[in-house]
Amino acid sequence: MNPNWDTIVIGGGPAGSTTAGLLSKGGQKVLLLEKDTFPRFHIGESLIPYGNDVLHELGVWSKLEQTGFMPKLGAEFTLGNAAGFQRYWFGKNLAPRYAKTFQVERAKFDHILLQHAEEQGTTVLQLAKMTSVEVDSKGVTVAYDHEGASHKAKARWIVDGSGRTSVLGQALKVPRSDLGMPKKIAVFSHFRDVLRNDGDAGGHITIVRLEHGWFWFIPLDKDKTSVGLVQTISSLKSQKLKPEESFQHAVENNTEIRFRMKNAERLEAFRTEADYTFRHNVASGNRWLLAGDAAGFIDPIFSSGVMVALRSSQLAARAILKADAQGRGLSGFEQWNYTRRVKKMTSVFLDMIRMFYDRNAFEVFMGPNPRLDMPRAVLNLVAGNTDLTWDLQWRVWVFYTMCKLQKYIKLAPRLSFAESPRRPKPVLTT
């Protein structure tokens, strides 16, 4: 195979295939190396509307509609004891193009995106594993194994879309931070016959906040629902239970979860992901960029992963096309600006994620003050709007200020996670 390329992309998930698709569309010769073979399972099954623009630009939106992914019109949050409930509709207060997005089984979704990149002209090699990379001011040389042989490829650019492993970030020893977040563990699987919401809310993601942790319910299609429990590793350890036992325990002991799972049948083995929070301090050099999870991943709670992957890949592809047309690498300013913009996306979510895990702040989130049009500002955050206009920005500041004050002054009702005592089961007499 021709060893000379314009750009080499590592990884065929949403970040890799979006970058590759946009670069190919822009006229570049792109080689994409994927270590796995598609379709393959991946977690992160809920999209948020502010990723829609990129799917439209890629030209893949209509394919997603035809595939029959579950339309997602909003998100809802409740408590394990079912007391308190906050439902958001994207169609209320957002531009029509953000009124809907999708819940996606990632095996299918990622495969569609990868095939789409191939249709745009990207050369995709599956079961191709990068073994080494050298980057200099002119470009990169990548060594990879494919079909039992070692190969070399050269390019002017390299984009790392390899996910949280971030093979390029590791190879270049890019410094990273855990952002001071406690280490967490997610345990999850796909189920049949999980109880759904009625009507248009049937495609909503449901987040159930427990005192120590939370559940996601993501309806994937007519039958299948993804259900997962996230908690801190220290909380799991204190229970002295295995992850799947902890999941079952939570199902039995929380009204909301038990209600939704009463007829549920598990379709696959449980899976776990742990200790996933990190962010690279720098996301670009003059010939390389980190996109999506490879740049950083904070937490699954607000479903930001795919959105950040799509949007950062769009920025990466634009930066490359612009500099490449002028026959140069990325300037210091462009590198800094790319890092800044990707960090800004993750920072908006970092604030929300910290809010969600803080009990006082969560109380404000569950009872946003309608007087200041607060629910609209929160809706924008939930939808993934990371470029807030001024009229939303100040509301968001007020919201977070209220979140901080809630510890001292009751600005929103205090929440109780207590379960109502269960009535004893009737004793059967023979």
Binding site: G84, F85, T255, E256, P370, S416, S420
Partner: protein, 88 residues
């Protein structure tokens, strides 16, 4: 057992809190307390709590929980449906 519908919940609110509004004018997400909503007070809350209990046989014993549950007609419906499933 009585079915939990939005209409029934709205009717309970109007009856127990002696509101002079048509129950259809109350939305699923209308706030029951505060100036932005129906402006119910603590007496109304108590009446409504008792009304819910006697209608559905679902007592709300913790006042903190009551405030959470009685936020909107939607939150009442959400909670009562689940109580009936496991506690009735």
């Amino acid at each position: 057992m009585e079915k939990v519908t939005l209409d029934r919940i709205r009717q309970l609110i109007v009856e127990n809190c002696m509101l002079k509004v048509a129950s259809e004018s109350i939305g699923e997400e209308t706030l029951l307390f505060g100036p932005e909503g129906l402006g119910l007070d603590s007496i109304d809350a108590l009446q409504l709590t008792l009304g819910i209990e006697s209608t559905f046989n679902t007592p709300i014993k913790d006042p903190k929980l009551a405030i959470q549950i009685l936020r909107t007609p939607g939150t009442i419906k959400h909670w009562v449906i689940r109580q009936l499933e496991f506690n009735a």
